[in-house]
C-alpha cells in the first residue's frame, strides 16, 4: 500500500530522517508515536505525497511518487483520507460544505453522497453544527469534522495526524471505534498520536502495530507500552 525505501528527509536545518525502509501492508493498522517535534507530521506528509523525500523512494498504490505529476498526486489523494493536525478547512464555507469538499473536488457530489454525509455528521455528533463556519467551532469539533472529511470518500488508506488531540476521552473512544471499524472493512490505517492510552485502547480491539520515531529512524516498537 505504502512503501518507503531508504527514505531520508531534511528541512533546511538538519536531517530529520535517514535511511527509513518500511512497508504498510494493505489492511494494516499502525500507530506512529514520538515526542513533539520528532517528525510525526513530517513522516505522514511523506506517506501521502505532500513532501517528496530528499533521498530514497516512496511508493503509494504501487506508484513511485517522484514520477507523478501534481494532478496524479491529487487524484491518488482521493483514495487516501488525510486528517491533518491543523484540520485545514475553507473558512468561508459551512462545516457541511467543508466535509463535502473531497466529493466536490472529484465531481462526486451526487444525491447518493448526501446520505453518507448525513450519516457521517451524525457519527461525529456534528449534525447540529452543519451550518457553522469552521472558525466558530471548538478545537474538538474541528478535529471530529476533519476525521469525517478524511473518510467521506471511503478511501483505501486513512492517515490521521493526532485525530484525538483535542477531544475528551469518550469522544476519542468514539473516533477510535470509527477508525477500527474502517480498518475491519479492509482499509489501511496510520495514526500519529502521543496518546498512549489511545494506543492501549486500540490494541484491545484491533491488531495494531506501533511505530516509534527515535534518533532519525522510524522503528517498530516492542509490545511493552
Amino acid at each position: 500500500m505504502i512503501e518507503l525505501e531508504n527514505v531520508a528527509y531534511s528541512y533546511s536545518g538538519g536531517a530529520l530522517f535517514s535511511d527509513i525502509s518500511l512497508r504498510l501492508a494493505p489492511g494494516s493498522f499502525h500507530f506512529l508515536t514520538g515526542p513533539s517535534g520528532a517528525g510525526k507530521t513530517t513522516f505522514l506528509k511523506l506517506c501521502y505525497g505532500a513532501l517528496l523525500p530528499t533521498a530514497g523512494q516512496v511508493t503509494i498504490f504501487d506508484k513511485d511518487l517522484a514520477a507523478l505529476t501534481r494532478d496524479d498526486i491529487a487524484i491518488l489523494r482521493r483514495r487516501m483520507g488525510v486528517v491533518h493536525q491543523d484540520c485545514q478547512f475553507l473558512d468561508h464555507l459551512t462545516l457541511s460544505e467543508n466535509l463535502a469538499l473531497p466529493l466536490i473536488a472529484s465531481d462526486r457530489a451526487a444525491e447518493d453522497a448526501q446520505q453518507d454525509l448525513e450519516d457521517l455528521m451524525a457519527w461525529v455528533d456534528l449534525t447540529h453544527r452543519a451550518d457553522a463556519l469552521p472558525p466558530e467551532l471548538s478545537g474538538g469539533e474541528r478535529q471530529r469534522a476533519a476525521l469525517a472529511r478524511g473518510v467521506i470518500m471511503s478511501p483505501d488508506v486513512i492517515i490521521a495526524d493526532e485525530p484525538t488531540g483535542n477531544v475528551d476521552w469518550e469522544m476519542s473512544q468514539r473516533l477510535l471505534r470509527l477508525l477500527v471499524e474502517l480498518n475491519k472493512m479492509g482499509k489501511t490505517v496510520l495514526v500519529a498520536t502521543h496518546d498512549l492510552s489511545l494506543i492501549r485502547a486500540a490494541k484491545s480491539q484491533v491488531q495494531a502495530r506501533v511505530l516509534r520515531i527515535a534518533s532519525n529512524r522510524v522503528q517498530l516498537a516492542g509490545a511493552d507500552l
Binding site: A50, R70, D71, A74, I75, R77, R78, V82, H84, Q88, F89, L90, D91, H92, L93, S96, E97, A100, L101, P102, L103, I104, A105, S106, D107, A109, A110, E111, A113, Q114, L117, E118, T127, A130, D131, R149, M153
Partner: protein, 294 residues
Amino acid sequence: MSLLWRTDGQAGRVVPPSGFTAHLLVFAAAAMAFLAVFALALSLASGRLAARWGDELAQSATIRIVAPLEQRDAQTEAALRILQTTAGVAFARALDTEEQQALLAPWFGPELDIENLPVPQLIEVIEEDTGFDAAGLRLRLAAEVPGAVLDDHTQWRAPLVEAADRLRLLGGISIVLLAVTMAAVVTLAANAALAANAQVIKVLRLVGATDQFIAQAFVRRFTGRALAGALGGTLLGMVAVLLLPPASDAGGFLTGLGFQGLEWALPLLIPLLAAVVAFGATGWSAKRVLGELA
C-alpha cells in the same frame, strides 16, 4: 441543511468571495463595456458615412464646356464623341437649355436668356460600376476640346471618405485596446486573488482537487464578474446611444452616431467578448500561479 452543491456551476464557491476587489472588477468591466459601445457606434457610423459618400458621388461626373458661343456646340459634340469611346462611361448627355436654365434660375431668375450668354455647357456623365480613368480622359479632352473641364468629384470626395475610414479604424482600434485592457485588469485581479488564496489552493489540493478543478473555480468567478459588469455597462451604453439626438441633415455626422436596425444586436457581443477575454486571462493566470505554487 443544504449539504451538497448539485450543479457544478456552484463549484466556484470554493474560492472565497473577495468583496472589494470583486466590485472593482465588475466596475472596470462595466466601464470598459460602456466605452466599447461608443467605440462601436463610432465605427459603424463612420463606416456608413464613408459608404454613403463613396456611393452617392462616385457614380457621376460633370464636364463643363467653357468656350466662346460660336464654338460651344462644336466642342460639346467633340466631348460627347470622346465620351462615347471612353471605357467605363455608361452614359453621357449634354444638358438642354431648359435644364441649364433651371439650374441657374435660383440665381438669375427664370427669364434668363441662356442661349445668348457665355454660360458653360454642362455634360452629365454616368459611370459604370468600374469607373473610368479620369486622368486619361482629361488628357484626351485637353488635346481635342480646349474648353472642357472634367469634374469627377474625387478631389473633394476622397479626403472625406478617407477621414471616415480613418474614424472607423480608430473605433476598431479602441475596441481592441479596450479588450486588451480588460485582459490586463482581469489578469491583475486573478493573480492577486490566486496569491491571496494560496491557503485555499493548498486545502483543495489536500482533498484531491486537480489543477484544472482549482483553475476552473477561479475562472468561473472571474468570468462571471466580467460578464455581469460588461452586460451592465453595455446596456447603459446602449441606453446612452439611444438617448443621443436623432440623426438630422443639419447635424451631419455628429448626430449620425448610433445604431441602425440590426446593428443594435452588435453591442450585445461586447459582454460575450468580455467573458471570453476574462476566461482566457484567468485560465492563463491560474495555470501560471498553480505551477509556481507547486
